[in-house]
């Protein structure tokens, strides 16, 4: 299912990206959150606010920011794996919170939600942030499962954004 892109110029025509946009190309915007795997990857209002920070006909700011987020997320996942190996639950909680902030700023709904769960699990709380009586071992098991889910959600968001910026073709 194609991602619809709206031309910010007056003609209002829909455009589909086939490659990296030049500085004169219209900036991307989201009119829906459809994807191969369903809805809810990106919050429209949040991400469009980010796109609004681009200069007219130049998406360099948002594109660079998104790539910075990709790099940040990859580093965070590496740190999470290391913390998992060391059974460092508090470290995992801090990493979850850290990535939650930037994920929230980009409107990445699923990733943000999973980061929040990681933050809570690492502190021995339940998914809603309420106190729970689970053991550290049980918390680790929950986190182990969550990290797999989070990575899948991140990959989905990354693919979506790369397609949006014309850096990847959408798989049919």
């Amino acid at each position: 299912m194609a991602v619809e892109l709206r031309d910010d110029s007056d003609n209002g025509s829909d455009l589909s990206r086939s490659g990296s946009p030049s500085p004169s190309s219209p900036t991307p915007s989201l009119s829906n959150t459809t994807s191969n795997d369903g809805e809810g990857i990106v919050d429209h209002s949040t991400f469009n606010q980010l796109l609004d920070l681009d200069m007219e006909d130049d998406d360099e700011f948002s594109r660079t920011l998104v790539h910075n987020y990709f790099e940040q997320a990859q580093r965070a996942f590496g740190d999470m794996d290391a913390a998992m190996s060391a059974s460092d639950l508090l470290g995992l909680s801090r990493l979850g919170h850290f990535l939650k902030g930037s994920s929230a700023q980009l409107g990445l709904l699923k990733v943000k939600a999973s980061c929040e769960k990681l933050q809570y699990y690492g502190q021995g709380m339940d998914a809603a942030g309420q106190h729970s009586s689970i053991s550290n071992e049980e918390a680790e098991n929950q986190i182990r499962i969550l990290l797999i889910q989070m990575r899948r959600e991140y990959d989905e968001a990354e693919t979506y954004l790369k397609v949006l910026y014309g850096e990847q073709q959408l798989e049919q």
Binding site: L53, L65, N68
Partner: protein, 214 residues
């Protein structure tokens, strides 16, 4: 001499001055000082925030403290932002520069509480936007340090900075957390992802406290 000083203070050149010379008493230094004090006594530092389409907000200089100041042009709010996440810092910087350019001058971008404290020993700011969950020094701890003049170094935080309005910008925005922020001296809390109208309102309210407290 009095008219010359008044003329310097006037924001428009079209203001007319009428001098009453009917009484010699009005040329005494006492009357001169009284006139100056009357004009400047009602000009505490104050500010309002307006959307870009409205007249820009301002912080007016205290003329009593700086008679050399000839400009009456309002100055922008000097803002420091603090966040350990570079993505968040980038977004907030850009957002302020684009949507608050008329009223705000982003003067300091810091990625830790310690760096912020160090900077506050050197430069004055009018407003701080602070992340909460940061390593080493959290936003709460940094705020407490500012209020208590604890720069974690041999230098003191500048006096004006000790009472600067601080707004938390965070995903940790539950009510009990907001209450904690208030208790340590934060003016408000804006949730991430940042909604521009809410940020604007928070800044406006925070800056009003300056005019209220004088």
């Amino acid at each position: 001499m009095l008219c010359s000083l008044i003329r310097k203070m006037c924001t428009t050149s079209t203001t007319s001055l009428l001098q009453d010379t009917s009484s010699l008493q009005k040329t005494t230094s006492a009357y001169f000082n009284s006139a100056i004090n009357t004009m400047t006594a009602s000009s505490p530092i104050h500010s309002t925030i307006s959307p870009p389409s409205s007249p820009a907000m301002s912080i007016e200089s205290d003329f009593e403290d700086n008679e050399e100041t000839t400009t009456t042009q309002p100055r922008k709010i000097k803002v420091m932002i603090i966040d350990d996440n570079s993505v968040n810092l980038t977004i907030l910087s850009r957002l302020l520069n684009k949507h608050f350019a008329d009223t705000i001058q982003l003067t300091s971008v810091q990625n830790s509480g310690l760096a912020a404290l160090d900077q506050l020993t050197k430069d004055e700011v009018d407003l701080i936007l602070m992340d909460i969950d940061m390593p080493v020094l959290s936003g709460v701890e940094t705020t407490t340090a500012i209020r208590n003049n604890d720069s974690h170094s041999e230098h003191s935080i500048l006096e004006q900075n000790m009472n600067v309005p601080i707004i938390a910008v965070t995903t940790s925005d539950a009510e009990e957390q907001r209450e904690l922020y208030r208790q340590v001296g934060m003016a408000d809390c804006v949730s991430k992802p940042i909604a521009i109208p809410k940020l604007r309102m928070a800044i406006e309210e925070a800056m009003k406290t300056i005019s209220t407290n004088g």
